[in-house]
Amino acid sequence: MREFYPKKGRVILHVDMNSFYASVEMAYDSTLKGKPLAIAGNVEERRGIIITCSYEARKYGVKTTMPIWEAKKLCPKLILMKPNFDRYRASSLAMFEILRQYSDLVEPVSIDEGYVDITDSYHLGSPLEIAETIQKRLIEQLDLPCSIGIAPNKFLAKMASDMKKPMGITILRKRDVPNVLWPLATHEMHGVGKKTAEKLQSIGIETVGDLAKANEVQLKVLLGINGIRIKERANGVDTRLVDPDSVSDFKSIGNSTTLPKDTTNQQELFRVLDHLAETVSVRMKRKKVVATTIGITIRFKDRKTITRSKKVENPFFLKEEIFSYAKRLFLKHWNGDPIRLLGITSTDLTDHEHAVKQLDLFSYEKEAKKEPLIQTVARLKEKFGKNIIEQASEKEIQKNQAGTFTSFNRDFLQ
């Protein structure tokens, strides 16, 4: 099958699950199939927006991020469901498991998409055959549709997977770029948002083709280093490698929430902080990290937002610690004005196993009591390897995913 692979260069797949949350729900409950279905945040509250919807709903014009009331107006028969993140996470893990059978180089990008570098997988078939089997297996084993892009780099693969939905397979070669990509408007390009497209327009760049031929100096002045990058992309050039570990590069762990209504009620705000602390703590435990800096975000009624942080003496990861630090910071910096949004962020992260706690003269006895146990565990690890034993609380985490999900976080990959 080698003849189907380039002599130099790579073959990369971008696998993009089609309306993932809705598809998972339909796989779970087949009576939902063929009906307009939308997954939305808190249905009764103002932050209730459509997270994703089925293709049947899309026909009515329902779109992601649309407020619920608007979607309901467009499609009165729309079935609304709250997200079941546990299900999505389980499906996502199963999906990446399948992808990993075709290559070790699998880079998850989010819960429902990832890159697979199959350059060295020629013994499994041609690139198209591999894409077809992957698509077939995902639908047969998980009942989940996807679109796959096949291309020599990540950018083109991503663009390709976007071209046929649902259940498409698209090959995009570099030589196809002038015909396929150049006629597109710049904002249709992955990596070019609304703001960037507006800026490009201001110097007369409307299409990807314009961008591909644009003056580099002008681009750099307008967009900085990103200008050069998107010009390369417009020419089909992307040198980023598929990196299976990229998902574990994170510098902070934080969660925030918009309150159901603006409030000055301290008890209520404490409860919100308590809940956020729980979420952050669960995420930290899952990633097996500890932090030494705690930060909070407060957005007031007038949308003025402040962030404040503090370095603490000993690394923390427990909910109680996070809550008490966050509460202290909050009380110090809250002027009593109505609050719209609260957030907690842990930064200065260290791997759990490299973190240390400085013992305290007045409280070390508590830790010292655990010494025989800790020593036994250390000896076991030394003898049989690091994964032989871990604390039950760490095991607990794998079950307890309570409310740690946002559609934009990548924790599920840990």
Partner: protein
Amino acid sequence: MRFIIQRDRLVQSVQDVMKAVSTRTTIPILTGIKMVATNEGVTLTGSDSDISIESFIPNEEAGDEIVEIKQPGSIVLQAKFFSEIVKKLPKDIVEIEVENHLQTVIRSGKSEFHLNGLDAEEYPLLPQLSEENIFRVPTDLLKAMVRQTVFAVSTSETRPILTGVNWKVEQGELTCIATDSHRLAFRKAKVETENTDHYNVVIPGKSLNELSKILDDHEEFVEIVITANQVLFKAKHLLFYSRLLEGNYPDTSRLIPTDSKTNIILNTKEFLQAIDRASLLARDGRNNVVKFSTLENGIVEISSNTPEIGKVVDEVQSQSIEGEDLKISFSAKYMMDALKALEGTDVQISFTGAMRPFYMKPLHDESILQLILPVRTY
């Protein structure tokens, strides 16, 4: 007020009292230095209301005339300007004269400054301490005791009492203890007392640091007066007052382990250098942790691992290792601070377990002890 004075003596005294002057004070006049000229000489005072320093310049010393008083009087001058002015005056002799309305003239050679002063009557009075309960310590010993303990005070205000050094005087012995709750420094010495009173006070670490800077290393005695809320150090021509910290210092006597499971004797300098090397790879201010393990044949291994930078392994030959094998991790900084404070070529380290405090002292010397709490890994 009018007097003529040797510039270097004035500069020295100004520098000493400046140690107490703070630019951030709630009492505006304390940004100034008070100067009082009497027929005996000139007295300078600086204070931030926590620390007050009084420096006296006598008319003459060992036959040399230092000050010539033309007219006694007093004034308060802005410390910031006055200290810079006297430092930069061109000649060895300075004339200071207060004219009308607190206007002060400072002359030296062809240079002449006019500085607006403040009324010395407005300057707060220093506490009057009854000087019955005095004990005496040689200056160099006092400085050593301060140096060996004050570094261990807490810099955090979470437990204010720990920002001071606990001084106890009992049966002719002075004990100094400082702890930030992660390490503890202990030093004791015989002092000269006239009575059997005992004291238990807490002196702010900052005060002791400043005191130590002002005192010269010599064997003359410093007289120390302790009252309920002030301590006064009296050296030649110098009075140093400090407020005491309020509150009870935690009882540390129980915290120093009495038994030990592993005893190791090491050459202090070799050990210090090995710790210093092992801490090189530590990231700034964080994870500055080294691992200490006993190996065969009396060898101690010191290692450190910072994943994103690298690792280091060092070995030190001990003079003896007695008792159980041991692996323990601790802050390299605390260890270096402690080793630098110890005297003597060899150090004895006593451990009672990887999660319990361990302490160091020079061989055959009970007067000083440094205790450190280890770190535990998660």
